[in-house]
């Protein structure tokens, strides 16, 4: 599904150049649930941004679902993001003046799905995350865990190939974190490919594979016995 070869990325900071990713080789099969771990500054967020086409790579190649991702203009990148990827952010990033169901429907709007179908689909995904009764509520009326579940429903609504979650539990307490991870595991069980960036060991253990980043290189890449989150909920 994802194929990365010899990926380099550096940032210009004034006259200095900061080499963040120093040759990453990495691939993800369909249906995997991968945790990307590392301390801050290890390059894990940069890697995720490149995977999410939010940032461009300097060197190397990136293939997503057999499509080479290279030299995309903004329009093309937007279309690919919409088609291939679903995003879950640490700070939820819901649009605060739109209700839960409108937030979930937003990627479908950019896919030019008709309003009625959009509404139906959005409600279906809200139901999957257990928030159907909250459909008409604004984000400000939801708890942190509920917001993240709305965000996950929004990421899933476009039926992406890969779900990218950047510290999805970073702003949540441990109980809600496990609820969110339970949801992510269920989505993965249904066959979806998911990448989770985290620095929490227990969250990483709930994935099927852990990739450790340190100073811009992968230092460890191992399969793990998945801890089910449902037992903590």
């Amino acid at each position: 599904m994802i194929e990365i070869k010899d990926l380099h990325k550096s940032y210009k900071m004034g006259s200095n150049s900061l080499h963040v990713l120093k040759g990453i080789n990495f691939s993800v099969e369909e249906g995997e649930l991968v945790a990307i771990m590392g301390s801050s500054g290890s390059g894990k967020s940069t890697l995720l941004n490149i995977l999410g086409m939010l940032d461009e790579l300097d060197e190397g190649s990136y293939t997503l679902d057999n499509v080479a991702i290279k030299n995309l203009n903004e329009t093309k990148a937007a279309q690919y993001r919409n088609k291939f990827l679903g995003f879950v952010f640490q700070s939820f990033n819901l649009i605060n003046y739109k209700s839960a169901v409108e937030n979930v429907a937003l990627p479908l709007y950019y896919q030019r799905v008709g309003r009625k179908e959009r509404q139906e689909k959005a409600l279906k995904y809200l139901e999957q995350v257990g928030l159907k009764e909250w459909a008409t509520h604004l984000p400000s009326e939801l708890s942190g865990g509920q917001k993240q579940r709305v965000a996950i429903a929004r990421a899933m609504a476009a039926e992406p190939k890969v779900l990218l979650a950047d510290e999805p539990t970073g702003a949540l307490d441990s109980t809600t974190s496990y609820e969110v991870m339970d949801l992510i595991q269920k989505i993965n069980d249904a066959g979806n490919t998911i990448l989770v960036v985290t620095h929490e060991e227990d969250i990483a253990q709930m994935c099927k594979r852990i990739v450790h980043l340190k100073d811009g290189v992968i230092v460890e890449d191992k399969k793990v016995e998945q801890v089910r989150a449902s037992q903590y909920v």
């Binding site: 941004n49 999410g52 939010l54 940032d55 903004e74 329009t75 937007a78 279309q79 993001r81 919409n82 088609k83 995003f87 952010f89 700070s91 990033n93 819901l94 649009i95 605060n96 003046y97 739109k98 937003l106 990627p107 709007y109 950019y110 896919q111 309003r115 929004r154 476009a158």
Partner: protein, 420 residues
């Protein structure tokens, strides 16, 4: 284009401008005031214009009077100070020589310009009135409204030297009883009996008007006052597209030639160019229209810049939201169009409200000035001007909207999402 007619786009826009109502309102206020001032001012200028036009509607716009005085220079053997007398034959010559003349009416008068007024009697009533000797052409230059049942002097009156007259309203009041019908009645001018054929309405304001005058056929006048072919002055109207100043000069040059006056002698032939005076008056209201255009455009411009400014702030505030939209698949074009349509929509909505309020204000002024004696009638703004100002707003709205739209697009989704 697809985006413009998509109801979803409009829902998005209403949502985003509706979430900060006060700011949206204040944003629109600038453009609203601009277009309101423009409409109210230019409508008022137009009202003044119409008012002047109404005041002078009885007089041909490009008319003039020409009379003769005494020479101030010796010429061709004549000495200076010679009195010049205009003749009826001059009229024929002028019509031939100056093709721009549309109407030419020679006139004679007794009772003004120092000559003694005619004593008019009717039975035991009598009074002093100005008596004019006129041709029917005169009414083409200065319209006379004749009351029902009456008429002005016509060609037959001239040909047959009929003893008929048209009298003013005051003349009627003073010489006739209230219930008496003056038409067909008789009065005596210089002991000669004249039949009244019409009463003219006093319209007021116009420079030709008087309400205590009597018009008789030019040919009859000539006999009664024994003036021969003498003419006191010519009333002349040029064609609408003629240059009145040039026509005036041509006429005077011809008269100097006919009467053997030094071509350089400015004093021998006198004139009053009404057309030129009209030009000045209408120049004033044109100036006012122009001023209101400048003020209006400047204010609209200021308002539109205000919209651009507020949208710029709004884009900055919405950086994160726009980043999320980009991450969810909004293309730069879609983001840009959304901001542009917002700018355009706010500008147009404010503009249309301004036009409506401006029109209502003009209507109000019209109603209140109905009974006031002001040269102010029917204040309107021509539709092309309204459409023009709307077009201007659309163009300015789009141009100014481009700045925040470009700013919105230049934000990289990743930077937008990082911003907390």
């Amino acid at each position: 284009m697809r985006q413009l007619f998509d109801s979803d786009t409009w829902r998005e826009i209403f949502q985003s401008i509706g979430k900060n109502r006060l700011r949206t309102f204040l944003t629109m206020l600038g453009v609203f005031i601009g277009i309101y001032i423009y409409i109210a001012l230019s409508g008022a200028a137009k009202g003044l214009d119409n008012g002047f036009e109404k005041e002078f509607e009885t007089v041909a716009r490009n008319s003039m009077f020409i009379w003769a005085q005494t020479t101030s220079k010796p010429y061709a053997g004549f000495k200076t100070g010679r009195r010049i007398q205009l003749k009826l034959q001059d009229a024929e010559e002028l019509r031939r020589q100056v093709p721009e003349i549309e109407t030419l009416a020679p006139r004679n008068v007794s009772g003004v310009f120092g000559s003694s007024p005619g004593v008019i009697t009717r039975g035991i009533k009598s009074g002093n009135y100005s008596v004019f000797g006129d041709f029917p052409e005169f009414t083409k230059i200065a319209t006379k409204k004749i009351y029902d049942g009456g008429r002005f002097i016509n060609d037959e009156d001239i040909k047959q030297e009929r003893k008929v007259c048209v009298i003013g309203e005051r003349t009627q009041k003073e010489l006739f009883d209230v219930e008496e019908n003056p038409i067909g009645g008789y009065l005596e001018i210089e002991d000669v009996s004249f039949q009244v054929v019409g009463v003219h309405k006093f319209s007021g304001g116009g420079p030709f008007d008087n309400d205590s005058d009597i018009f008789i056929p030019f040919t009859t006048y000539k006999k009664i006052y024994n003036t021969g072919d003498n003419v006191a002055w010519f009333t002349i109207a040029a064609y609408d597209d003629a240059d009145v100043i040039k026509v005036e000069q041509d006429i005077k040059a011809n008269l100097r030639r006919i009467h053997k006056v030094d071509p350089e002698d400015e004093k021998a032939i006198g004139s009053f160019n009404l057309g030129e005076q009209f030009k000045k008056i209408f120049g004033f209201s044109n100036g006012l229209t122009f001023l209101s255009l400048i003020v209006g455009i400047a204010t609209i411009l200021a308002g539109v810049i205000g919209i651009g400014n507020i949208l710029l702030i709004s884009v900055k505030e919405r950086t994160k939201e726009l980043g999320v939209r980009r991450a969810l698949g909004a293309t730069p074009t879609e983001v840009r169009n959304q901001i542009l349509i917002e700018a355009l929509f706010l500008t147009l909505l404010a503009g249309i409200i301004g036009i409506i309020m401006g029109a209502l204000t003009l209507k109000g002024i019209d109603v209140f000035t109905q009974d006031v004696d002001l040269p102010y009638t029917n204040p309107t703004v021509p539709i092309p001007y309204v459409i023009g100002s709307l077009l201007l707003m659309v163009i300015l709205g789009v141009l100014i909207g481009l700045i925040p739209a470009q700013r919105a697009v230049s934000i990289k989704p990743i930077d937008a999402l990082r911003e907390e």
